[in-house]
């Protein structure tokens, strides 16, 4: 009864077929997995295999045809931003709002008082390393900074779970590496459960405790790999034997 379910996700037998203009796309096929509290789980798979669709369902924006998704012991039927914060590939900041107002956005939707909103947004911006940038507009920020704002927006309500859909895919290699380390720092500081979709195998392994490998469409989970590399992770680890073996194991399964 009193089992602690905070920060947990269970995906149970989720299948989904999109129908648009009479054309059917079988996107997900019997996907099941569990994520315990505080875990960092990466999801990799060929593009078009249904990763974003899966996150849409977790975010409550799409109902699966079959199966169910349970978040903190409760079935997801609609967006629940106080449980799950989301970060997308494009930072998707509103260009007419300052960084701080963008971060405040989820709070303002709930009618949180301006003074409280303001303080929380500042804290969240400080957490992602953007102290003092609150009054900048998105076009005055670099790609990496925009993604930091987007992460701050995801964290501003302090949800136990953070979901990220290829958040660093649009960034250059260097920024991407820095952002990976930053994300790990934030994760260690806040102890969130993180579900991280990426198409970079190296990034998936480097960041995660566990990597879920998906097949080409219809997406199924074809492997679950526990990453037992020590933490904190270091850039140099990427050229070590165990790291490369894990990376190869994933590559063998998704290349065809």
């Amino acid at each position: 009864m009193n089992k602690d379910v905070s920060g947990t996700i269970q995906v149970e037998g989720v299948s989904h077929t999109f129908v648009s203009n009479g054309e059917k796309t079988h996107a997900l096929d019997n996907v099941s997995f569990e994520v315990p509290k505080n875990r960092f789980v990466s999801i990799v798979g060929p593009s078009g295999c249904g990763k974003s669709s899966l996150l849409m369902m977790l975010a409550g924006l799409q109902t699966p045809d079959e199966g169910r998704i349970i978040c903190e012991g409760k079935k997801i039927t609609r967006p629940d931003p106080q449980r799950i914060g989301v970060v997308f590939q494009e930072a998707s900041l509103f260009p007419w709002l300052t960084a701080e107002k963008n971060v405040e956005f989820p709070l303002s939707l709930r009618g949180v008082k301006p003074a409280v909103r303001h303080d929380r947004a500042r804290e969240a911006l400080a957490l992602v390393g953007l102290e003092g940038f609150g009054s900048r507009y998105p076009h005055e920020l670099s790609g990496g900074m925009k993604q930091r704002v987007s992460i701050a927006r995801g964290l501003v309500q302090d949800p136990p779970i953070l979901m990220m859909d290829e958040p660093f895919a649009a960034l250059d290699e260097q920024t991407r590496t820095v952002m990976g380390d930053e994300l790990l720092r934030i994760w260690e500081q806040t102890r969130k459960t993180i579900l991280f979709v990426t198409h970079s195998l190296g990034e998936a392994v480097y960041l995660a405790d566990q990597v879920l490998v998906m097949s080409a469409r219809p997406g199924r989970i074809i492997d679950r790999i526990d990453v037992d590399l020590p933490r904190p992770r270091r850039f140099e680890m990427m050229s070590t034997q165990p790291f490369m073996e894990l990376r190869e194991r994933i590559w063998r399964q998704i290349r065809h």
């Binding site: 967006p79 007419w96 989820p106 939707l109 076009h139």
Partner: protein, 253 residues
């Protein structure tokens, strides 16, 4: 900053030169002074006009018609345009039709408006609305297209309801394009009203210009043109001032 003053200065010099040429050319007999009276003569008439209560009456007629047509065409056109663009079926049916009608010169419909409304206030207003509403609708299509789906997705994933999505995503996204619609609407609308007045009317600035034209009163006509130009530029600059206020983020699409 220096560059901005410089361009402003150059612009002023060009304007001054144009007025200088306008003053000089007829006086030096380079152009027929009956066709192009010197600037000073036109402005003397102009200052006389703007102190003339009779002219004020005509101006008021024109402005009332323009404003009424504007207040109908902009909200109705914007709303229709947004509804059509938002609904896939309506979009497929009506979008091409709007483009077709837009491409027809509106002036050829003037006789029909007189048949329908007589020579009246509402004939002018109806024609003004008709001249304007299609460009407003087309701009509204563009405004809807400028709303980014990833912005809507973000808002929804943070729990926004429909009203919040409209107020916090649609409106701010569409504002720059809708301001453009307002600007274009005023130009089309003013043109439509003046044309309707020149074609058949009992009052209004268009009516005056038509009468002066038949009487070959060129300085009066030109003073009328100065009035209309002044009003148009004033309104245009007003909207542009609003536009500039959202310009700092507009580039980031």
């Amino acid at each position: 900053m220096a560059a901005r003053y410089e361009t402003a200065l150059i612009r002023l010099i060009i304007i001054a030169l144009l007025f200088g040429a306008w003053e000089f050319a007829p006086r030096a007999d380079l152009v027929n002074a009956r066709l192009l009276p010197p600037a000073s003569e036109v402005f003397t008439v102009f200052f006389g006009l703007i102190q003339d209560p009779g002219f004020h009456g005509h101006l008021a007629t024109t402005l009332q018609q323009t404003l009424t047509a504007f207040l109908i065409a902009v909200p109705v056109g914007a709303l229709l345009g947004i509804l059509i663009a938002e609904n896939r079926f309506a979009g497929e049916v009506f979008k091409p039709l709007v483009f077709f009608v837009f491409s027809i010169p509106k002036s050829i419909f003037l006789p029909m408006f007189i048949l329908a409304f007589g020579i009246s206030f509402w004939q002018k207003v109806a024609f003004g609305v008709f001249s304007t509403i299609f460009i407003v609708m087309m701009t509204a299509f563009a405004a809807v297209a400028s709303v980014r789906s990833d912005h809507i997705r973000v808002a929804r994933s943070y729990g926004a309801n429909l009203r919040q999505i409209i107020a916090r995503v649609y409106l701010p996204s569409m504002t720059p394009v809708l301001l453009e619609a307002v600007r274009l609407a005023m130009i089309f609308n003013f043109t439509g009203i003046l044309l309707a007045e020149m074609y058949a009317s009992r009052a209004g600035v268009g009516n005056l210009i038509g009468t002066w034209g038949r009487g070959f009163q060129i300085p009066q006509i030109m003073a009328g043109i100065v009035t209309v130009a002044g009003l148009s530029i004033l309104f245009n600059e007003l909207v542009r001032w609003f536009e500039r206020r959202c310009e700092h983020w507009r580039g980031d699409r």
